[in-house]
Amino acid sequence: MRPAVGIAVVAMTLLTASPRDLSAQDSQFGIRGLGTPGRWESVRARSSGGAFAPFDALSPLMEAPLADISTLTATAAGGTSHRDAQLGDTITQLRATRFPLMGVAGRVAPRLVIAGGFTTYLDRSWDVTLRDSTVLRGELERYRDEITSDGSVGDIRLAAASRLSRRFAIGAGIHILAGSTRMTAVRRFDDSTFHTVGQVAEVRYDGFGVSGSVLIGVAPGLTIAGWARADNRLRAQVGDSTIALTDLPRMAGAGLLLAPSPRVRFAGSAAWRAWSNAGPGAFDTWSWSAGAEFGSGRMPIRLGVRGGQLPFGPGTKAPTEFAASAGTGRAFAQGRALIDLGVERLERRGGILTERVWTVLVGLTVRP
């Protein structure tokens, strides 16, 4: 029991130590577009490459798996990433801590489970410095720009799911997209007769979306899942003025779960997202994942890989990403508390930029 308390304390400390909430792992690829899309996966699913996300009740990707929740369940996740962003020959080491997931679900009727929570829809935290010069008043003036964005767009989900039969479950959800970023633009001239430029704005975002999903037990040990989601548009406001209205993607995906025995599970999934609606420089994306989970529910071993594309990047081709992940979990207090740990190695490529990321993940699930 005492180790469990220690791990819980560590996990809770990690979840409460950072001032930056509702954020996910960011990327240089998201600077020019709307941001970096979040991963709608619990630590358990992400440790297996995301392959189990369509079948994981605690991952906000699909609603239908919620139907199998029997008791009130709350979960949260946090992660720290160490990112090397390589632009040409320049490597910059970046670090961030994010808390991309929190949710609670419970059964309200024999065939109805509802859930609420939030996850990151788009991360918009970045800080870019630029050294350049311009001719002002006939002189070449050197300056350093620093443009920052701190915040994200959160996806607040209210979902319901029902198991209609032993083999068939459905779910649906509504998504309120809300968030804000504090943006600053600073220019410091080497020539101090030019005063420092400093502009600040609080940009607020809102949007709306709906989703639906289905889970079908094809045969004992074999389950397939399908989901679809449509979001309308992301409105950006500064003060009372609407600055931008950006169409958001429709998306759909499917998954396959194979459980030849209670101690061995394999899964695979794929998803398509029509991000090209978001305007120039945005691409439709495909993503895939495959993973496995071995062992009992008390302390399983999880492995997985995933790959796909990123929606924003330079040039005419979408940047690509590939990740491998592993993890485990531990149940305590007769299964009322679960700690999930994971580690992920990710590589993104696009244009002259390559990002290599190590991410350590911690998830906490409580069933009081």
């Binding site: 600077i31 020019r32 005063h195 430029v197 500064v238 350590v360």
Partner: protein, 415 residues
Amino acid sequence: MTRRRLALVGAVLLAAACVERLTAPGHCPDFCPSGQITVVDTLLTTSINRDSAYRGYVVSYQSPVMLAAFLPGATDTLDGRPIFRFNGYGPRLPVSSVDTGQILRADSARLQVYIVRRDTATHNLRLQFYRLPTTIDTTTTFGAVAAPFTNAPVRTVNVDTLLAQPGRKDTVTGDSVVVDTVNHRWLLSLKFDTAAARYVGTDSGAVAYGIRIAADTLASIAFGKGSVGPVLQWYLRVDSLGMPVARKPGILGTTLANFVFTPPTAPLDSTLAVGGVPSARSLLRVAFPKFIRDSSQIIRGTLFLVPAVAARGAPADSFVMEARTVLADFGRKSPIDARLDDPIVIHPGATDTIKIEVTNMLQLWAADTTHPTVFLLRPRAEAQYFGEIRFYPSKAALRPTLQITYVKQFPFGVP
């Protein structure tokens, strides 16, 4: 052991979690925000209007210094002469606790004057002291005291010679000089003999002196006033029951300290005058464009002024002109906003275009739209220099102009 491991893991995770590092070099345009900081530079050639000059803010007797100069020019000679007066003790002085005695005469007196500004390139600086009528006052003009200055001086002192003396004391004349390197001034202590220091009891003992200066070149200095003004120590003979006794009464300060000069300052014309004695100021009213005021950030503002004539004044006496703004536009009586000032040094003889950085004031106007958009030009030390500069006004071809560099609103929120 398990708990230790867990604690170690927790500590490592906690340390990692608390550090955030997001700053990365940008590579534009691929990996930069779509919006950029846009800098615009514009020259406002017709925005300064309704300008005017006023004189008389600080007159010579209100100046904290007395200006002395002798600078021959091509057409005239700048000649500045300090004049000052000491009131006396009257005809009698106490000789005991109950009796007073008639002041018979002065044995001598010691006059102390401070030279508070000088040119280090000035050599062979000579001071000549003249006795002036005690009727001099604040309205006394150069011409009114021209005649007494043609008399023989009561004392002549060569300051350079005095400085070269051992201990900076002249044992023959009794003069000395103290060099204050901290405040950069000289204290001259000069002995006036009976002839130079005449105490006329029937005239209340008042005396007045004037100073002319000369030097090999650049004869232009300033004498202190007030706490660093001239003081006079009398050494008197007083009648005590028929016996003359020596008395050293208290030190006297001046009751008038002024200076006169020629040629007189030229009257104001259509140009924008700044400086001189009495001091002149100029007001420039600016039509501040709304598109800059309301939706941009000013990062540099420069006021350009073209001298109509070469700046006047003693060659060594460069003076500081400052641009300020006013709290309310009441013309010549506009109260000055003391918060901001942008100074520039004016060199007599110069005709170059004057550029004054006025960024702070433009930013103030942008931040406070109720603030009058008026520049006020004045010398920082009014009536403390002979120097004066005159600029072309807004109705001239070479009118004042304002160059503003500003940044447009950053397109925050645009993907």
